[in-house]
């Protein structure tokens, strides 16, 4: 039997939020704590180190990483455009922009893969030193988040889009929630890039 959960789609008047939107914000709060703990660990290990190599000295590829930053920022824009188009009732355009987002995410992962392979070829592994340890751990965990986002977008473009015909508002909400997550993944990279590559 089906039961109706209140405020699943429309916002509750006194909080102004529907359930999933509040849920994703809370989830992101916990993600802030997760990455916050890792950034704090980086600060502690770096400040305790006698010598800390800079990313550019260690041969991290700054041009590729800059390109990746642009790719990821573009995907954040396209996901907003997707949501806006769905709000206007245009599934075709909305799906197209979702496709762009997914493509950008894929591009990001490919570029990241190239960077990783280069490092492995030179024999730079997580066990080499603590700089590479934190580099691989943090970018790896961020990569897993990108991968998670790709799975979600893939579902929403493909089989998940059936919901458009039955529950239009709910489908649009799903894009909004996925988009909020995606912005967070983008934001983590915006912090990772300067801290690992430039500083």
């Amino acid at each position: 039997m089906h039961i109706e959960i209140p405020y699943n789609v429309s916002p509750r008047p006194d909080t102004g939020l529907y359930n999933a939107k509040l849920g994703i914000w809370l989830f992101l709060a916990s993600e802030v704590m997760l990455f916050g703990a890792l950034f704090s660990s980086l600060i502690l290990i770096r400040s305790g180190a006698a010598h800390w190599p800079h990313g550019y000295e260690e041969g991290l590829n700054i041009p590729l990483a800059t390109l990746n930053t642009l790719v990821l920022i573009s995907s954040s824009v396209t996901v907003v455009l997707a949501w806006a188009n769905l709000r206007l009732g245009n599934l075709k355009k909305g799906r197209m922009y979702l496709g762009f987002t997914l493509l950008c995410a894929l591009g990001f992962m490919v570029i990241k893969g190239i960077e990783y392979t280069d490092k492995f070829k030179l024999g730079h592994l997580p066990s080499t030193n603590n700089f590479y340890a934190i580099y691989f751990t943090m970018t790896g965990l961020h990569g897993l988040h990108v991968l998670g986002g790709m799975i979600v977008f893939g579902y929403l473009i493909g089989p998940g889009a059936k919901m458009w015909d039955t529950e239009r508002a709910r489908y649009t909400n799903r894009i909004e929630v996925a988009g909020l997550y995606w912005h967070f993944v983008d934001l983590v990279w915006i912090f990772l890039f300067p801290i690992l590559y430039l500083l």
């Binding site: 109706e4 359930n19 934190i134």
Partner: protein, 635 residues
């Protein structure tokens, strides 16, 4: 028979209580009939959907409860084996042969086995027994009922939460079969020891990642449910204190667990990818220089771990306080004393719990300035705890108390938690902690908080809400045997720990302090403590019998046997309806503890949703509403 004074509003009509009750029963009957018909015409809900991968918060709560109680018993038995070793170090016991030849050759426990049992006892009790019981079971079952919600906000996520917890437990148990045994570095898993430990530690980390995911999904769900799904009229300051306690607990779980997840990832990298996050340069193991890059910091783990684990202590105690509050209010037949200060205290406690973690680390050499800061915050956090305990104690004043089994456990909670809390103060002061750190005094302190504190509250909760879940009451005589036996024995186990600790006996010793010439007078109490522990086990047998026996043969009771005021008692049947909980959506009229209201003479309790007064609508939108009418009023 209800007097003509008392009427209820149903839709737009005012009815006498008797008629309203008839209507309610009729509504329930029609609903059940509809469900039966739906079952005939559509498809029957499969066994797996209903009992294994259920999305009903009540069934998930029961799943959590049963699983967690099994783990509680398992964790307890690990301790019983350890206590055999402590009572007579190196003695061969027949029963220890169950540990296998690798751990206890000929029934003599090896030091490695003792460490494994210690680490697993702590891990299982904290992460697999108490938290799932306090939050997963009680929270899941009761929070939606108490706030008048049809279910949790995300029922599928709720199911996923249980099905992350369960494999987490399986991974932990499976590590007993791994070569080299389970994790053996204590429940705190301090590196470098844990970094270089046998592969059981990797299993421990994998299990923890499952458990952390489970608690993350659960906490988001609880917060959204409490914020979004409160019934009409259920304002924040009308929520039962139990719901407040769960609310703050969920915030702690949400924000404190991720740093441990980060720490777990780093330790996993250390163990699997051979990084050196927690391994300093020049570390010598067994006379050999460890071949790693080095440059790491073992204290970093302690910071990350205690950033979780101190809030975790409040995750263990706050739901217990919530349960105790409900039981005390109901059995004193009085409003809780100082509801507002209780709420303020629990919120303040939640905030403060994030800035006290380093009081576990006074002896890491982090400097006097930081020690001074953390001992100050630690003294401050004791204030809201004292406020809560005082309010509960004051609630007893002048009451004619009903001494039933749940109330006995609740009353015992107060002094037991008091002992546990007050003995914590010397540990929170950096100077006295130098002597007490890592002694049995610490073990005594936190066990008083968790065992006769939280676990007693869990028992109180089980005896109290058993009639709601099963429609039957547990046996009072067996309950009282369980209570008095447990109370005496549990003090026999834990009180001597203070004496041992003050005498300077360290924790985690394989021989329990036999080697300490200066502490022989305190060492001797080990036999008494071990005997108490085994008798404590015997006194759990009446509970186990009572629990299963009452399910089948217990006295049948109505929907509100304790004559309580909160929604889960007043507005639902026992057990509540399978779907949606309420036959009619309750509309809340007043605060949660309207007991012995002098202006209301019908009974000594006034449920939260019942409308009293003249036939004219006293407050717009009050009364019992049908689903349709409730929906109309929303817009």
């Amino acid at each position: 028979m209800a007097s003509p004074k008392r009427q209820l509003r149903v839709g737009k009509q005012w009815l006498f209580a008797d008629d309203a009750e008839k209507l309610l029963r009729e509504a329930i009957r029609i609903r059940e009939e509809e469900e039966r018909e739906a079952g005939l015409h559509e498809h029957h809900e499969s066994f797996i959907r209903k009992y294994v991968f259920s999305t009903d918060h009540k069934w998930i709560g029961i799943q959590y409860g049963i699983t967690a109680l099994c783990f509680l018993l398992f964790g307890f038995s690990l301790m019983l084996l350890m206590r055999l070793q402590l009572a007579a170090p190196g003695k061969a016991w027949g029963i220890l042969k169950i540990l296998g030849e690798s751990r206890a050759p000929g029934g003599v426990m090896l030091p490695e086995a003792y460490n494994q049992l210690g680490a697993m006892h702590g891990t299982i009790m904290v992460f697999l027994a108490i938290v799932p019981l306090a939050v997963g079971a009680f929270g899941n079952y009761l929070v939606p009922l108490m706030i008048g919600a049809p279910d949790m906000a995300f029922p599928k996520l709720n199911m996923a939460s249980y099905w992350c917890y369960f494999p987490g437990g399986v991974v932990m148990l499976a590590s007993f079969a791994v070569t080299g045994g389970t994790a053996a570095s204590g429940w705190t898993s301090y590196p470098p020891l844990s970094d270089i430990a046998t592969s059981g530690q990797t299993w421990w980390l994998a299990g923890m990642i499952f458990l952390i995911t489970s608690s993350l999904l659960g906490s988001v769900n609880f917060l959204v449910t409490i914020i979004q799904l409160r019934a009409k009229g259920m304002t924040f300051m009308r929520m039962p204190f139990f719901v407040w306690a769960q609310f703050v607990t969920s915030f702690l779980l949400l924000l404190a667990f991720p740093p441990l997840e980060a720490a777990g990832v780093l330790q996993l990298m250390d163990r699997v990818a051979h990084t050196s996050f927690f391994l300093p340069s020049g570390l010598v193991v067994s006379g050999q220089l460890l071949n790693v890059a080095g440059g790491g910091n073992p204290v970093l783990w302690q910071h990350l771990f205690w950033f979780l684990a101190h809030p975790e202590v409040y995750v263990l105690i706050l739901p217990a306080m919530g349960i105790i509050s409900e039981i005390i209010a109901c059995n004193t037949r009085k409003p809780l004393w100082g509801y507002k200060s209780l709420v303020a205290a629990v919120i303040f406690l939640g905030f403060m719990s994030f800035v006290v973690w380093a009081h576990h680390m006074f002896l890491t050499g982090m400097g006097t300035v930081i020690s001074a800061f953390f001992q100050t915050t630690t003294m401050i956090i004791s204030v809201p705890s004292v406020v809560i305990l005082t309010a509960l104690l004051m609630s007893l004043w002048g009451a004619s108390i009903r001494f039933n089994t749940p109330m006995l456990f609740a009353l015992a909670f107060l002094p037991m938690f008091g002992i546990g809390g007050l003995t914590g103060l010397p540990l929170g002061l950096a100077a006295t902690d130098i002597h007490l750190h890592d002694t049995y005094y610490v073990i005594g302190h936190f066990h008083y908080v968790v065992a006769p504190g939280t676990i007693f509250a869990m028992f109180a909760g089980i005896y109290f809400w058993f009639p709601k879940i099963t429609g039957r009451q547990m046996n009072e005589f067996l309950g009282k045997v369980h209570f008095w036996g447990s109370l005496v024995c549990i003090n026999g186990v834990f009180f001597p720990m203070f004496i041992q600790g003050l005498a300077g006996i360290s924790r985690r010793l394989y021989d329990g302090g036999q080697q300490y010439a200066h502490a022989q007078h305190a060492y001797g109490t080990n036999v008494f403590m071990s005997a108490s522990a085994w008798v404590l086990f015997l006194f759990q047998i009446p509970f186990i019998f009572n629990f299963f026996g009452s399910m089948m043969f217990g006295k049948k009771v109505g929907s509100n046997p304790w004559q309580a005021t909160t929604l889960e008692w007043g507005a639902t049947t026992s057990p509540p309806l399978g779907h949606g909980n309420f036959a009619v959506v309750p509309v809340v009229q007043r605060g949660p503890y309207e007991y012995s209201n002098p202006e209301y003479t019908e009974a000594d309790f006034l449920p939260q949703h019942v409308v009293v007064g003249a036939p004219e609508p006293a407050s717009p939108g009050g009364g019992l509403l049908t689903h349709g009418a409730a929906a109309q009023q929303e817009h």
